[in-house]
Amino acid sequence: MLAALAWRNLWRRPQRTILSLVSIALVTALLVFMLSFQNGVYGAMKSATLRIFDGYAQLQPHGWADDPTLDRAIEQPRALARQAEGLRGVAAAPRVNTFAILAHGERSYGAAVVGVDPDREQRISSITSTIETGRYLAAGDSDAAVLGVTLAKNLDVAVGGDVTLLGEGRDGSVAADVLHVVGLYHSGVPDLDRTILEMPLARAQQTFGMAGAANTIALGGSSLAVVDRAIPALRTLSRRAGVSVLDWAALEPALRQGIALKYAVAMMFYATLVVVVAFIILNTLLMSVLERTREFGMLLALGMRPGQIGAMVWLELLGLALLGCLLGLLAGGGATLWLEAHGIVYPVDPRLLAQFGLPTRLYPALTPFSALFGPVALIAAITVGGIAPYLRVIGLTPALAMRAP
């Protein structure tokens, strides 16, 4: 009965109600789209960054992240990688990771040396596809190496040249090798281009006395989300194998913090928006309540209890918020889904976007959170704010109210 009354009351002033609905719907739609867009951009940033070298997750020996020494090793990397690949959509690539002195002629530099399985690596790391000159490593290579363009420039070595590698083996003995440069990569990340040499896994295991062991297993797959979903299964698997799983946030803590900070700033903006709109709607309703003081007095005189009238007013507000949010959700969600299918071309220099690891076409990503945060926040704010008109209504007495102007 109260709901029917509230609904009828709303449409006694259709103009005002529609205006209120439009403002709620617009803000809701905006929040749905903005959050989805942020989701999409940060998602693209995450996968673009992780795809270059880290992988979406990694299996590492315990303590490796804090103290990466050859001593910490995965003894059966092949078996473990196969098990990880048993999970749907997950690819795995064992690596030997160490440091060595690289020398060419008179020049020498310290570098990170990574032993990789070329075929498996291609499913994880985009370094394999950013070769600027020459070629990437191939199955069957032995004394081959690919270097970042900056590292090659520092060493003054080109494709076809040899680099000498001097480091330390797992048993503490001297590890030395001469490798033939077959390709130079340009990942676009200066730190990588300056520091990483990749060589065939088997050769690295031999040179550094790893005897079939690896230091890390990089995990990739069809998407970051797929690998993220596989993390619990990977944890079970790694517990049995006695290794650690590092998800994307553990691999790139700076990226995680950066994204969290941007979300926090955006949330402050969204909260302001929600509060402002809630106040506008409340103001409108409060005015309508003031206008109807005489009417409420009449209702009281007819025997309606003040609490019932208050509930009726509150229901008007709630109905307005629900309807407005539903419309906004449909409009915002629809627009977001359309853009998710077609992409948004950002009108800036693609090179600038590439610097942040972003593609030229950006796609928002509608998730339950991005869809529901706006509506839920608005409805909650308006519902709580509804206490003000409610308190005003239950304070009315029939005699005084009926004499109101």
Partner: protein
């Protein structure tokens, strides 16, 4: 009475610095200088066994070392077979390594100087910057104690402002016959990071010498490197071709 007390105070205040100066503490820098002279002399030639201990394994290496003045050093490994022929040459601030398998001399990049030397708990910097403790630090004798019939100075060395050093502080225990007994390296947070201790003092080349020394990184339990000096000659005339790149690659 009051005047006499005041006079006594005045005398005490004026005289205090003089009294302090009358019993000068030992000069910390001179002690260090003498210790290093005793250790290396004008030149030295020594045979050393090196034991590298890890929780999982232990390795034994043998090497011959030559030093000239405070700046130049050549180290050549003689055993085991896998490492025999590997050599390190240090001239002033530059360091080269020779690897017999590659038959190649490689100059160490500055970024690698803090890396482990031949898998031991010594770094290339330990080899190259042995003078650093004298030149880049200010020194102070903080304690004098007695041990086994010797007095032992405890010297605290703090980096000079702007000195390119990695340690926050170094403390050294030095015996009154200028033999180093212990050296502790503190990190920038003033926590002890690694310690070198002298296990045995013997007579080598007619002088007291730290025969057995052990370096332990304090954050890695069960890990240390010990050097045992078998034999040494001091102040012998060493040929100058010893400290050259060509001798590093093709020993005469």
């Amino acid at each position: 009475m009051g005047a006499r007390l005041a006079a006594a105070i005045v005398v005490a205040v004026i005289a205090a610095p003089w009294i302090a100066a009358a019993t000068p503490g030992p000069d910390a820098e001179a002690i260090l200088r003498k210790t290093y002279d005793n250790y290396r002399s004008q030149s030295s030639e020594s045979t050393v066994a090196m034991t590298i201990h890890r929780p999982a394994w232990e390795r034994h290496l043998e090497l011959k070392g030559w030093t000239r003045g405070q700046d130049d050093a050549l180290v050549r490994f003689t055993a085991p077979a896998k490492e025999a022929g590997s050599a390190t040459l240090k001239l002033a601030r530059d360091t080269w390594v020779y690897n017999p398998r590659l038959n190649q001399v490689i100059k160490l990049p500055a970024s690698m100087m803090s890396q482990s030397w031949m898998g031991s708990d010594f770094s290339y910097d330990d080899l190259a910057k042995s003078e650093e403790i004298i030149t880049d630090y200010t020194h102070r004798v903080v304690a004098v104690s007695q041990a086994a019939g010797h007095s032992v100075w405890t010297i605290e060395a703090t980096p000079k402002p702007g000195a390119p050093v990695v340690w926050g502080k170094v403390t050294l225990n030095i015996r009154d016959d200028y033999v180093i007994l212990e050296e502790t390296f503190f990190d920038q947070d003033m926590k002890p990071a690694r310690r070198m201790t002298t296990g045995k003092v013997g007579l080598i080349g007619g002088r007291p010498y730290p025969v057995s020394m052990t370096m332990s990184p304090l954050d890695q339990p069960g890990q240390w490197t010990r050097t045992d000096t078998g034999d040494a000659r001091f102040n012998a005339a060493l040929p100058s071709w010893l400290f050259t790149l060509s001798n590093l690659q093709n020993p005469r």
